[in-house]
Amino acid sequence: MGRYVIRRLLQMIPVFFGTTLLIFLMVNVMGDPIAGLCGDRQCDPATAAQLRTEFGLDKPVWQQYLTYMGHIFTGDFGTAFNGQEVTELMASAFPITIRLTIVAIVFEIVIGISLGVVTGLHRGRPVDTGVLILTLVVIAVPTFVTGLLLQLLLGVEWGIIKPSVSPEAPLDELIVPGLVLASVSLAYVTRLTRTSIAENARSDYVRTAVAKGLPRRRVVVRHLLRNSLIPVVTFIGTDVGALMGGAIVTERIFNIHGVGYQLYQGILRQNTQTVVGFVTVLVLVFLAANLIVDLLYAVLDPRIRYA
């Protein structure tokens, strides 16, 4: 197990360098960011040249990348164009997005898995068909439609929530955005769980458990669900990274100043330091989530061993 973890951690190193290099190149391909800094008029050449030196933009890309990576290991992610440290931006954005992601994941787990179990055990019944149609609708409707609709109904028409989240983004204000963010994944979780449960419901160990005379609840939760969760956990694990990075739409609609907003702003202003910094952290989150998922397999199914 220990060796497995170490090997996985070592594998992360090339992935980490590869992705950051790719992002670095992609942002650089977009052209000269200083040109957009002065608005519809040209920056005067002397100031532009000096800004370029300050942000290291006058050096060849490979050199910029090496300097940047060198700085990252000392915890210096550079400075955004508005003079703020990127680490400062991260310190304000990540807690908010993490809260939002947690809300979304909780919804996925609680609602998604419960619905999946219910429908999986009642295949073909009206409740199954109903939930299937519902999930189909949720998957088909784009997130921004769901988001704007809920914002309009709950926020403006009925006044149950505030249409926008305040800058501090407390947990209670993130419930509806979290639900919106989770909606599509939630539908997938429901369907994955349903299929998995339905498949395993007819397996030998479930029959044995029932034959032993175990209570139905214990059969379902301890035997059936636990074994059916492997694909679901895989999905939710990879979804953590996707949710954090993909929150751009939801964050925009509900005015949440999280990672999505900073990334969007960074791309719009072609701010290499912000974009690469945030994506680097997202890559790390993604890699860590994947590792945790792989380790969770053993907890769910003790037959799985790592070497």
Binding site: M30, G31, D32, P33, I34, A35, G36, L37, G39, D40, R41, Q42, D44, P45, A46, T47, Q50, L51, E54, F81, N82, G83, Q84, L89, S92, V106, V110, S114, Q151, L152, V156, G159, I160, I161, K162, P163, S164, P167, P170, L171, D172, I175, V176, R217, R218, V220, V221, R222, E251, R252, I253, N255, I256, H257, Y261, Y264, Q265, L268, R269, Q270
Partner: protein, 543 residues
């Protein structure tokens, strides 16, 4: 039964969560009403650090307008320059100015505003080492070349043209005659700065201190700034409310939604997608007034084909082929006004705005347009490509409409096409490095309400924003002459003479004047936009 406990825990969590959301629906716009009421307003994240000489966009500019007062202030309604801190600004030759300031001004930290506060701030703004994006505002002052050379290193950090005489007087020597120069001093780059700005720069940036009607109560970079009325403010335009809470929105649609839901008092940018509903939603709480912004189509004069006498006809023809009325009505919902000169209505007649100065070339005329373009040998290259940035500002819609209009006139669906560029930065970089070979969208937001500002930076030979590299000796001569006039009216009419050359040569096609738009809640009143389309925050009253 462990399973059961889990399920119950989950159910409780959801119940608590939902209950908490319901609690979160209340209204918390605090501060009460009346003279101490707090106004909440939408905001965008300023692009640059909040230094006066480094702020060149409207979001940072509106904060500076609340925090600072300069020598001169533009009347919010008429845009006319009036002395504020300046007691008098005198000159006998339009080149050497003596500025005397009033004695009673202080910064909100108690420091006195002196002649030195101005001179230090201007030197700071001009010095190359400080990277100030508005440094070129000091370019008229003698010695700018040494403190801020075009290329290479600066030899000094101070402007030789600035001299402090005593606590309330300083002199300015310009490098050329410029009679209207005092009128430019209302721009934010010219405000005085307190000593703490230099001594503890980081602290100042995280909580700016100025001499205006408001002070910063708290500032969370990127998300909000709370400004409170400064009770000891020495100026005459004291704030009529208790303070302003600026809130950064990720999307102006969300700000608008917040306004209609009653969570926000003021939105100073009504999103284009809401223009259809805005009258129904807000009624007379919707403001749509002209701002000092003009939008144009620019051409590359560094491309030979566009720089010929025949191409003049083509440009005039293209201008005539654009149905401005229809586009401003249908696409912009009347938030633009068809342009018929190269300035802006906010200047007023006295300031140099002249409706119809462009004449026939700016009137829609299908038959004449086609004839002119064909007389001029057709569109260079056979097709007009209009470049624009696709990331912000929804330029696609109107560029397509302009092309449609031209294609209609030419009877050719390929005569004009839009050519999107991914990001604003990339677009600007292509424009400023002369990479574009077709036309591109251009826009100009005035820095100060002067006709000079609409002409010289844009069309004077090698001027900083003359991206198309148009050059005309007669035009340059008239601008120089106008700047040297001591009488304001003569100067303005000379500038108009120069503008007439634009009508003959059509270096850029004027499209429309942009309006400022805003909407406000029924909790506040006396809301107006100034000529820069920034809300006059200090005059807003809370009911």
């Amino acid at each position: 039964m462990r399973g059961a406990t889990h399920a119950r825990w989950a159910a409780c969590a959801v119940a608590v969560a939902l209950a908490a959301t319901a609690c979160g629906g209340g209204d918390d716009s605090g501060g009460g009403g009346g003279a101490d009421g707090i106004v909440s307003s939408s905001w965008g994240d300023p692009q640059n650090p909040l230094e006066p000489a480094n702020t060149n966009e409207v979001q940072g500019g509106k904060v500076l307008d609340m925090l600072f007062r300069g020598l001169v202030r533009y009347d919010p309604k008429t845009g006319e320059a009036e002395n504020e801190i300046a007691e008098k600004i005198e000159s006998t030759d339009s080149q050497n100015f003596t500025i005397t300031i009033k004695d009673n001004w202080t910064f909100s930290n108690g420091e006195k505003v002196t002649a030195q506060s101005f001179v230090d701030a201007w030197n700071y703004g001009a010095a190359l080492k400080n990277n100030q994006k508005n440094a070129y505002f000091f370019a008229y002052i003698d010695g700018y070349d040494a403190a801020h050379p075009e290329t290479g290193k600066a030899t000094t950090d101070t402007l030789s043209g600035l001299k402090v005489v005593n606590g309330t007087t300083f002199t300015v020597k310009l490098s050329q005659k410029f009679s209207l120069w005092p009128d430019t001093l209302g721009y934010a780059a010219f405000v005085p700065l307190p000593k703490t700005f230099y001594s503890d720069h980081d602290a100042w940036l995280s909580k700016p201190v100025g001499n205006g009607p408001y002070t910063v109560d708290s500032y969370a970079k990127g998300s909000s700034m709370n400004l409170r009325r400064w009770d000891d403010y020495p100026g005459t335009d004291k704030a009529q409310n208790g303070g302003i809470d600026l809130k950064v929105y990720t999307d102006n649609n969300t700000a608008y939604t917040d306004l209609t839901a009653g969570n926000l008092d003021l939105v100073d940018d009504v999103p284009a997608s809401q223009l259809k509903n805005v009258e129904a939603d807000l009624g007379d709480r919707y403001i749509n007034t002209p701002a000092g912004i003009i939008q144009t189509l620019a051409f590359p004069f560094y491309v030979k084909a566009w720089n010929t006498p025949d191409a003049v006809k083509v440009r005039q023809g293209l201008s005539m082929a654009i149905n401005r009325e229809q586009i401003t009505d249908q696409i912009f919902q009347k938030t633009r006004t068809p342009a018929s000169d190269w300035t802006s209505p906010v200047l007023g007649e006295d300031g140099g705005f002249k409706e119809g100065l462009c004449g026939d070339p700016c009137e829609y005329n299908k038959a004449e347009a086609k004839k002119l373009i064909e007389d001029g040998g057709g569109i260079p290259g056979g097709q007009l490509k209009i470049s624009y940035n696709a990331d912000t500002g929804s330029h696609k819609e109107w560029v397509d409409a302009v092309c449609n209009s031209i294609n209609n006139v030419m009877g050719n669906n390929e005569a004009c096409v839009g050519s999107p560029v991914g990001t604003f930065a990339d677009f600007r970089s292509q424009v400023s490095t002369q990479k574009l070979t077709g036309a591109w969208r251009a826009g100009w937001q005035m820095d100060y309400p002067l006709i000079q500002n609409f002409l010289q930076p844009l069309y004077y030979t090698n001027a900083p924003s003359n991206d198309g590299k148009w050059s005309n000796e007669e035009f340059d001569g008239l601008v120089n002459k106008a700047n040297a006039e001591t009488d304001k009216a003569t100067a303005v009419s000379t500038f108009q003479d120069a503008e007439k050359i634009l009508a003959e040569q059509m270096p850029v096609i004027p499209l429309w004047y942009q309006n400022g738009s805003a909407g406000y809640s029924d909790r506040v009143e006396n809301v107006a936009l100034n000529v820069f389309s920034v809300p006059v925050y200090d005059q807003i009253k809370v009911k």
